[in-house]
Amino acid sequence: MGWSATLIDGVAVTFSRLYVGDEFCQQLIPSGRELESMIELADSRHVPVTLATPPVTDDGLDGLGPALRALADRPAAEVLVNDWGTLRHVHRLFPELRKVLGRVLHREAKDPRASGRHATASLTEPYVTLLRRFGVSMLSLDRLPADESPLPLAVHLPYEFVTAGRACVISGVAFPEPKKFRSDFACPRPCRTLFLDLRSSDPRVEMRQKGNALYAGNGGTSLISSAAGRVARWVYDLSVDKAYSLFASSETSHEVESPRAV
């Protein structure tokens, strides 16, 4: 069962879950209707849905309501949370929804200019107990962990999220000065049709700005072979990697646990 497509390095893969929504920008929270249509699509391919949610203000949390309600009675539906308030809210009001801790909350130092070991949030016993108390069933990461994890891991490919912010350079293109680069505004979402590639004088630092977030390559599918069974789910982020389309179907020959698509 799953959604077959030719994506990664020409290999045909089967996706077992569809991620929808956005992890970093509350302007991109899908309406209940938008989510319904994505659920319909996922149903037609027999895959469950994960709603990716960004850090939110009170308005943003209110805005998540219709999407959460649309998802609430779906089998195997999940919410990917990137805000402690969202986690508490979903735990209180939608306890049946599975919760995955997102990359904003499960922190790793990720500077593409750095070499050597990087800092990752300590999974101390009180912290893991807290996560379990709020029903978190999985942690999201961008890099392979050095240590064993007490919770299953979802690793994102082929880009790692490096930084994000509400004052968005791409949104600025839709506004005259001085109305550019604000945080509390209604965005016409120019990022739906524009992304940026950024290069510096350091050849290691090639980045992509998609929406309000900046990404760097994280090794892509080469991580899969070096994971040695430590990863429960691979999330292939098609919204950032523009090289592939989920709709280029082909026959199945290789299974990847889970894609990310919008």
């Binding site: 912290y127 807290l130 912010g165 350079v169 945080s183 004088s201």
Partner: protein, 329 residues
Amino acid sequence: MKLKVLAPFSAVEEVEPLIAAGAEELYCGFVPAVWVRDQPADQWINRRYPRGANLCALSQLAESVRLAARWQVPVFLTVNAHCYSPAQLPTLMKMAELAAEAGVQALIVSDLSLLLALRDAALPIRRHLSSLGHCTNAEAASFFAELGVERLILPRGLSTREIAALRGRGPRPLEYEVFLLNDGCAYDEALCLTSHHYGPICLTPWKVDPHPMGGAKEGRTSKWAENWHAYQRYLWCLNNCGSSCGASGLPNGPCGLCALSALGAIGIDAVKVVGREASTPRKLASVRVARAVVERVRLGESAEAVSGYARELRGTPELCESTYTCYYR
């Protein structure tokens, strides 16, 4: 109405002059030698370079607290990296214990594991959530209050309307602190997982290739160059306008002075002057102007009069008109 003026310091000698200039609360960093010796150079204890922006001896911290206490001014210590490794936590807990003994009134924390360890250790020291903890809604405020946090430092990216919504719905008696002066951030620092050890990534001189996709609105691509140019001006404003000063000697850069009336009406407890790494004259000038405008709010002057006074003190109408230096646009 509180709006206490919170000021940064990085040397014992700055404590009393800052209080004389109007600081009502103080915060600082402290990086022990053992941290510099044992930890990777890019893993900072508190988001600022270990030397220059921080105290480097416990005796300096204790002396600073003692001097501030003469004026009933509390001192807070920032320990607010995004995350710490298991090997780093014992050093931080020892630091917290020593800080409590020295009379530091609160630790400014972001990392959840550290926050929980501090709660469980029941040290006699308050916990403030750093802006890096990224509390942007009332539900998150409740989450942190349940973990024993007593003050929230709200991130820069919230408007006064959003702050009012959060404060209105949020639990009480939590305290709320917001940014007032200096040091903007192009991205949200809570979401920025880079290290300034390599320089601010937002200031990288990028070569940018915009990629329009199917359905792009006519004209957007042609507007791109103008937009990128405007973005560079915006970054310059966030970066303290190239560390320049106005004619009055006041440092240029991100500013929320015009919003003080609104922040007071919302019930904000403290307003923060940023820049532990800044020079002493820069800190003093920032604190003086912050306190001067706060006093106008305390006297009950109208929002318009307060805003006009703030602009007059700044003396940079062109920057104020651009709004790129405004924290609360």
